[in-house]
Symmetry: C2
Subunit: 167 residues, 2 copies
């Protein structure tokens, strides 16, 4: 018998009910990236996705994320972030900034909002001013940055890893 | 002074010389995915990318990865994997299979090859038979799977995280 046999799309783990992570994207350039983020978020147990501007999910890419996620689209993000902060969420930006914390050692709070920046412009000063924390993914080679969708995948992986490992 | 100011594409960490990870992709459907993997791999300090079939990097997506990586394209992957195994690399597939290990707890060997499967078909039996280990990323919601490029980003993040944290 072979050691490894395919077992795709198998029963998933149940997300921990004590933890909630919302993903919020500023106005992005590409609906492909937004849709990629939606798929990854849904498969990572995220329940709520906040989008800004002319955003539209491409269901071929977002897959079940397009139906499973509670998606809301807003004209501007700052008032939404302010409201979530008042509701007790910790606002965590994903960006290379001064005073950012390394994703490897950052510990997510139980109720957090992961704020994802534009592919080219990142997070604006206006959005940065609202954040509690900024996390940054260490880079080891050119182009010294990750694509927005890949960076979000890494952050969502780390979020779930910490919970699963009880860290 | 604001807490967080953008500092994009800043000086990177130097990859640890004792560790080497090669990324090898079976024949993929999409050059967009291959190119996304190339960008993420290069920014994660990977030096060598092995591709199969009609693969072509799109430099707009792969960015510096297209020039920085040592890229080789092969007609079939199995002989290449066999050679790398003889050279002492541990072959690690990224797939949902029987006997797969959880990426959260898997520990990468110093010299490894991460073998990435086709978007639709994953890793074939022929390739699975050559592997030392298979790692699987826990899923917490529909569609119970990650896009090939996002899954690779998560695996590369975990690989670098372990080295950085001395685990």
């Amino acid at each position: 018998m072979p050691d490894f046999e395919q077992q795709r799309h198998q029963a998933h783990r149940i997300p921990d009910q004590d933890h909630e992570l919302i993903v919020a994207c500023v106005q992005m350039r590409s609906n492909v990236n937004i849709s990629g983020i939606a798929r990854t978020a849904s498969a990572s147990g995220v329940k709520r996705l906040i989008l800004t501007g002319q955003a539209k999910l491409i269901s071929k890419i977002a897959r079940d994320g397009a139906e499973e996620l509670d998606v809301s689209i807003h004209r501007t993000l700052v008032p939404v972030l302010q409201r979530l902060k008042q509701e007790g969420y910790r606002l965590v930006g994903l960006e290379q900034t001064t005073n950012s914390q390394d994703l490897n050692s950052y510990r997510f709070s139980n109720r957090s909002v992961l704020v994802v920046g534009n592919e080219r412009l990142g997070l604006s000063e206006e959005v940065l001013n609202e954040l509690d924390d900024v996390i940054e993914i260490p880079v080891y080679g050119l182009p010294y940055s990750f694509n927005a969708s890949s960076a979000t995948a890494m952050a969502l992986y780390e979020y779930r890893r910490q919970i699963a490992m009880g860290e």
